[in-house]
């Protein structure tokens, strides 16, 4: 699977990265080198192997239950009994690059 210039541009777009020309060239080379190595995964027969998204599914998932009840072990006690205070508004804004005191301020969103 060979990565092209167009692929790099498309992926950079998806990842919201403004790559410089030099970075795009390096990325093309590095991605191809790494993906070339990763190709060896296709040597393995995995037709009937279940994918493993995370280890923690082994720990407490109750297979006898349905839907989100299967994950009952992960439910937080304080949410079950009612909400607890969250991050105060002023603290949440403290690291903001730009704010009007109420909202995070950003450059215009919609192009006219």
């Amino acid at each position: 699977m060979k990565v092209t210039d167009k692929d790099v541009a498309y992926v950079a777009d998806l990842a919201n990265l403004e790559l410089t020309g030099e970075e795009r060239a390096r990325m093309l080379r590095d991605l191809n080198s790494i993906l070339d190595y990763v190709e060896r995964l296709s040597e393995l027969e995995t037709e009937n192997v279940a994918p493993m998204a995370q280890v923690s599914d082994r720990y407490g998932v109750d297979e006898s239950r349905q839907g989100s009840d299967r994950f009952a072990y992960a439910i937080r006690e304080d949410v079950k009994d009612g909400l607890r205070p969250s991050l105060p508004h002023d603290i949440a804004l403290k690291n903001a690059p730009d704010t009007d005191g109420t909202f995070f301020e950003v450059p215009k969103v919609i192009e006219r």
Binding site: V11, D30, T46, V55, S56, I75, P97, V106, P107
Partner: protein, 481 residues
Amino acid sequence: MVSALTIDEVKAAIAERKTTATTIAQDFYTRIRKEDSEIGAFLTLCEERALAQAGRIDALAAEGKPLPPLAGVPVAIKDVMVTSGVRTTAGSKILENFIPPYDCTAVARLEAAGAVILGKLNCDEFAMGSSTENSAFRPVHNPRDKSRVPGGSSGGSAAAVAAEMAVATLGSDTGGSIRQPASFCGVVGLKPTYGRVSRYGLIAFASSLDHIGPFAKTVKEVALVLRTIAGRDPMDSTSADVPVPDYVAELEKPVRGSGEALKVGVAKEYFGSGLDPEVRAAVEAAIQKLAELGCEVVPVSLPHTEYAIPAYYIVATAEASANLARYDGVRYGFRAKASNLSEMYRLSRDGGFGMEVKRRIMLGTYALSAGYYDAYYLKAQKVRTLLTRDFDEAFKKVDVIAAPTCPTPAFRLGEKVNDPLAMYLADIYTVTANLAGIPGISVPCGENHEKLPIGLQLFARHFDEATLLRVAHAYEGARAT
């Protein structure tokens, strides 16, 4: 010398009123100021917080009250764990001025146990790297040979312990980032079972692979820290509801009981080509020591080992591309000047992230993108199942598995920076434990002819840190004689 003290020695010295927590903290800061300019382990010092804590401990000691388990013990934290009110950068320019509004659970538990937090430790940016050369601020120099890397990504955490600038430190391990630096710096480093220690407050790199774990000079100290930070946390739904044994009490149990010997597995896949001959010799000698202690050495096979790195670099980068999407300049972190929102996102991210981080985001995004998801991400997840099954099978026959931690000792600064793939292959013996979620530890087992440390790695079953630590402790004791 105060910096050479172990956790127990610090606690005893304060309890016996031979010294105070404040004096000890100040002595460590003096040492940091003296040594760290050549090492670069610390990014931020938090003296106010440290001395306030030390003062609290001293007040308890003065009143003759009982002291908490880590009273006055100077510790430091890898800068990927948030500390309320204390700058936390994740080793990145994008968070260069970020002040978190809350504490990481593991950090809070250390402090509740009386530990004195000296500061935040340098690391590869967003924990992505194997040498700490990807830190956006400066590299870390290995205290055992300053022309070499300390390993990564928890290079600062390993170096701080090796240079005695902290008694114990916390690091994180996503593909080997605790065990490999422990091996390179000649200290003990533990990656616990996935879910053993809460990840709340750990700046996420790959959520299914990230682990928090301790560094110290000895296995007993690592056990003490683990006992303090482990346990279910409602703030992390992946933290397991499994009781925390007294890891310290478990240490002294013999590896050979009456009639029953612990079985140590040796997998040929971890001793193949690419393994430095001096590393091989040191690790084989260590396994021989375990046999002399009464363990039964059993050959095992972990047949899918060679597929671990490619599977890891797809899963980890895919998860990272999602986790790092939040760094967009809106609510915190670096924001570039831009004329519209889209430009702001792109320029902030491109300006704030280093090259390795961008490379991994690109790889992960590509692996998840339409048309490639099945071939890469889904495939890697299936291979993950195969790797985990290898361990499940092996642990039917043995109790722990012994292997080298890394194929080589510490390499030189600058040696691998231009070859990302070569850097990735340094993780070859460590990523498997992250994919399977099993615990792994690295303990020093010798040096090469250049006096560079070599690490012995041990793996155990999920949640069997007690056995892991017991074998490691027994080896450590036998090696000293």
